[in-house]
Symmetry: C2
Subunit: 144 residues, 2 copies
């Protein structure tokens, strides 16, 4: 069975890297919730669970998880990079409320297809795309 652990492990192996307790804990924490997270939050969450892992290790581990296709950078908001895990989750894009910070995820198959068509038109081979729409969410429009 393919699990996030086995994926991470084999990616590490491929690169001649080791599976340490710290790396395991980070992997686990990243999948412990379905929220988007930034590095500081991840650091704090680990602390709250008694795992004293240094920021340096977290900064070193996240790129490994990205390379493993287990997580990715989801968006940036106010200079913070937010990540999300992607293993086991479908692709989607984001609406970002600039008033209250709410994040709405959406997925539009037609938009995806049109993006493919654009790439084809330019002979471009896409590896990743990001569509972020900023504005005011339903709740915030009235108080705008």
């Amino acid at each position: 069975m393919i699990t996030k652990e086995s994926i991470f492990e084999s990616h590490l192996k491929t690169k001649g890297l080791k599976l340490t307790p710290q790396r395991k804990a980070i992997l686990e924490e990243v999948f412990a919730s379905h929220e988007h997270f930034d590095i500081e939050e991840l650091f704090a969450n680990l602390r709250n669970k008694g795992k004293r892992i240094s920021r340096a290790t977290i900064y070193r581990t996240l790129p490994l998880l990205v390379e493993s296709n287990l997580i990715k950078e989801a968006f940036r908001y106010q200079d913070k990079v937010s990540y999300e895990h992607i293993f086991g989750h479908g692709h989607h894009d984001h609406l970002l409320c600039i008033k209250c910070g709410r994040i709405i995820e959406f997925m539009d198959e037609k938009i995806e297809e049109l993006q493919e068509a654009v790439c084809k038109k330019y002979g471009f081979k896409p590896t990743e795309h990001r569509l972020g729409i900023k504005g005011y969410c339903k709740k915030c429009i009235s108080h705008e």
Copy 2:
């Protein structure tokens, strides 16, 4: 006639700010080429034209140009923020080659419409959106 100068000037006036030689020079430089640019490049370009304007002033001025809707942040690539002027130019999105750094601009009316539809569906009032597709450009696919 509405010019970029008049737009900037009236925006400054609205905020009780002054039109200084430095601000004029930055505005001019930003429209001197149609390339995307980052702050360091802008700083260097001004230097090369004999304008010794401090980075602090550039950092302080760009947000004013953004507020004036004369420029906007176009995308980020390798931690550098790239801007582009928008006055006199239609909206578009970007393909970014992660091998050679080439930028391809595109605009797809249908994608724009579908984005609107998504926003409507969620009662979201968009103020800005950004679609960036990373991958390999035509030239780079072969050497990938």
